[in-house]
Symmetry: D2
């Protein structure tokens, strides 16, 4: 349920709303967007909905009460009309610019990481990505350097000035990884690992939440809702391909998710063309497509010598290929910026008119 | 099997190759790309393959014999290294430019068609699209104006100068529709209607072949192979979304098919964002994404008054929205033209290096 | 819209209903199930619905008027509460018995067909299946014997007494194939070939309608609706696997479709485990599963020497394997008969209580 | 890599094999099936494979060395030719009998659990199922009673004598839940939660591993491989429906997985028709289908008053419906027992002959 307060509603009037919600045994969540304050009341539908709506709608200072039928609340545009901009150091994700995270799939050694980090920085990347803990389909595949990898990552940040994003795989690791990383990544296989989502929701680090291979857009937003309702508003969604019947490439990049996410929610969305494609030579076209569709950023795998990579070498660009691509996507981003400037409710309203 | 003749091979040497193929009871198909002539020998694998390959590879003037493992032959880059450019009037599809076909889903009346045709021409469309025979999921839905619709279409071409593309639904209709249309469209539901594919393969009109909702890229190319092996080399592929588990929109636009098709085949590929999205406000982002990925063209539904449309009104743009979109996609096409200039084998070779 | 006439409604009262429908420019379809007559009024929703419903509901002899929200009408249980039983010679499909159709994928020769036909009859098959016209993914694969195959099929029927089922691929072939075949099969790729569906709908032969690889159950019923609304009430549905992400076998047999079809519609449903599995050794388990789920019949591919088959040899049983399977499935059918006896509305009502 | 020792190989010969593997830095896993001992050498492919194979194949007492191309090792039939039978109290899962686990989706109260437990025991269930920790798509849905639920479960086991199966959601919970539960369930969303898989792999309790909604059969076996390679050989696979394009029911029960699992692996497989169907009235047909396909067991949701259930009420059977179903499935299991008696390699060999 969303309670929209009138412009100029007093603190006293707001307190009456808060009190009514608390009396019902529920917690009010507040967001001020522009001139209006919205109070979200979370919880599964039940008898309380009608009762509380009736009570709230007659309170002074309340402009309207909406009984949202959508299961996602804090992630929705109704609660938070303005775009969320996630800030990490100097970088702003979701402010209309294109943020490029690049780096190796897995951190393999100090040298490999540093070489890659410096190359992608020189080519204009904004963030360094790299896996220390790697979820692998087979227990016999390389599982990452673990703690050692995290240390290399922190060192690479020192040298390059690039903030780092890395994956966390279990609740017990969260605090530890958060010491080293600027953004915590939740992998596609863990999109509905609710214990993990709640754990990263209790930490003061932005979360990059990958869509599961069979995750519907609604389920993905519900996963973000787990993070947000646990206290962490800084969620970046990441589309990395869904599982379909097609076997000519690895996964089907769902480019339609970009405008949909921008319409349904206020959260930024980035595209991972490397994991979707699974093949290096497909990455540029997918990166360009995602950018043109309005994505807020890209996650690109780069390896100095892809043929020697311990994981996902087939889909990694060389630093030179990445540098070319960075120029191309920034050109397209510039080209489409004005088109996507009014997104979300405005775009919807406009295009539905 | 592909027989690549040496540069400077004589007609006599070529005749020896032709003869050997004919003796085996098979038909040689020839394509000259650049300096070399390629002879394709079609037919399902069998004992003849080894026998014929042995025999041909020692003939003078033969540079190499490849026993293709891919099931598609005439559609493959191996047979036809250069891009196919389909020409209709002044329009060239597949030459690196962006061709835009626009018009109503269904032709509803003379006025509706003419109003739309003039609007899309003014906004820079290159082709007029419109359905006279409509395949509808329900037998109780509007099935199109039929012959009357075809006549309106021909009249609209007269008035606007735009060539027209329209769907043909059964073998018995092909000759008739070909009298009125410049490009014959095969709908997604008929992608594997082999009788229909062979019928349009025997006609001198370009064919726009939509991908079926569950058609793999390989099956789609095999469908094109039916058209080509029946005698018609002018096939344009059209991606219009595939069926996946996601229900937040109609179909999942498979943007990855664009670079894949350009690598595997010499045929042009266009994108139909309207049918994929099913919702008007998603169309611009998908059109931009397809263009950035390197598509040769777009198919966009436009209706002067979408709310009154007899079919697919929800996904039709107004003429004004279409005009804005046409400007935007042409801007992006310009931006990415150089990136996609060397596609197919060149791009692959380059990116695999 | 369904108009249920009261028990004992007079012909005069019925005529008033018919007249009102005809005046609206629509056609009444009638079905007598038990003591009550149901009049279906077909057509897409529109302003007429409310108008006609208001008018009909006050007519004498009318018990109730339902504005069906489901798009399928003639195929629905609301129009036709009793199970449809399709009769071919002595065979009844849909009466609670298990009908087994068996035979080769493609008719390859007179001998191959006759040998198979006699073997499957001896093993207890009720119908002979075999393809004369074969839809093949590749234009270079064996396309069937055509007319010659039809003649062999008719001859095999003479010799064995088994009615025959064979595929028809285009509208122009329908009358011809109907001369030879007892049941006309529409293949999965043609599930939404509406011209073909209407053509078989105008013929006095039962139709076996395979579900398309990406056909939803609703679309499948709409395809049946095309056949039925063209005049042919004898439709048998055939589930043969759907396309999913799994690649460990050919297609995913959707066994859930069996109880769903029995609940939503009055039409019989048979299972084709051979095409779903794509592998011989999987066929028995799938045939048993389909039977236990309540299927009205099975379609099994049998070849005297599978290794030599010109198509689908990997999935064909030998006659001996078929004979074992026939015994096993009849045992299970006997075991579950009582459980599935009250299906459709009764089962639903019962189980929902 | 699998090293098959000759019949009568000595302990000394075996030690030489073990030594060679250990020298390579790898760990030998041993399984004695019938007269032969198989040593599995685990690890991702690499240079060592050829080297070790060459060395081992000439050692005395070694019958054969197979370089398995399949990524799953310990779960494969090659390593463990005999069926694994998981024993819990008096119950044996995988020995050819049909094991039925029944109970509520979520434990809601002491009374609800006890009433259900006694009803399902009276109806012939072998195991009690019930969730204390519930993974829910929405953070605002009922999340289970937690520890309290576990205590009720242990108490219900005391009263009824039925062993209990319940879900564990995170690594930190494993030891705790294992104190109360006889079988630990890994839910579909956690199929690739590798931290959790390794945690249950280090515990002496059988694990019921549900297939993920988009999990291929190979990925599912790799997940089982995580559990087994962590030390726990008692894995029961559970098919509960996969995500496809069909929306007429919740998920598509993949009944083909049953014979496939029996052929590829030695592990037992059970079917969960309740979660697949999502609708009560579909459950009996699916349970019968799974049983006929050869499943080793069923997982059925039962609630004394489904309309009042806090989760999944729509798919829960009443105790009376469950009692009817138990009789029906046991009848079918009896009917098909002989057909599925020789499964795995034997069946495959037989049917491929």
């Amino acid at each position: 349920m969303f309670v929209v307060m009138a412009v100029g509603a007093t603190e006293e009037q707001l307190n009456a709303v808060r009190g009514a919600v608390l009396e019902e045994g529920l917690t009010p969540h507040e967001n001020r967007g522009g001139a209006r304050l919205v109070v979200a009341v979370l919880g599964e539908g039940g008898a309380w909905v009608e009762r509380l709506a009736d009570r709230l709608s007659v309170l002074p200072g309340v402009e309207s009460v909406t009984k949202s039928s959508r299961p996602f609340k804090l992630t929705s545009r109704e609660f938070h009309p303005d775009d969320t901009v996630v800030r990490v150091g100097d970088i702003a994700i979701g402010d209309g610019s294109l943020t490029i995270a690049a780096g190796p799939c897995a951190i393999e050694s100090r040298d490999q990481l540093f070489e890659t980090a410096e190359a992608v920085r020189a080519a204009g990347a904004n963030l360094l990505r790299g896996g220390a803990f790697k979820p692998r389909t087979s227990p016999y595949s390389f599982q990452g350097l673990g703690l050692q990898g995290l240390r290399f990552l922190a060192e690479a940040r020192e040298r390059t000035g690039l903030p780092v994003v890395t994956e966390v795989m279990e609740p017990g690791q969260v605090e530890h990884v958060a010491e080293y990383a600027d953004i915590l990544q939740i992998g596609a296989r863990n999109m509905q690992n609710y214990s993990l989502l709640m754990a990263v929701g209790r930490i003061g680090r932005p979360v990059l939440l990958k869509r599961g291979l069979a995750g519907t857009i609604e389920e993905w937003l519900m996963a973000a809702e787990y993070v947000m309702s646990s206290g962490n508003p800084n969620v970046i969604l990441c589309e990395r391909g869904i599982r379909t019947f097609e076997t000519a490439y690895r996964n089907t990049l769902d480019v339609t998710s970009v405008p949909l996410i921008h319409q349904m929610t206020h959260l930024p969305i980035v595209i991972d063309p490397s994991h979707a494609a699974g093949k290096r030579w497909l990455v540029p076209s997918l990166a360009l497509a995602g950018t043109a569709a309005g994505a807020d950023g890209l996650l690109i795998e780069v390896h100095p010598r892809p043929a020697e990579a311990l994981s996902d070498g087939d889909q990694s660009l060389t630093p030179a290929q990445f540098a070319d691509l960075a120029v191309a996507v920034r050109g397209v981003a510039e080209q489409v910026r004005a088109i996507h400037a009014t997104r979300g409710p405005a775009m919807t309203a406009g295009s539905r008119a």
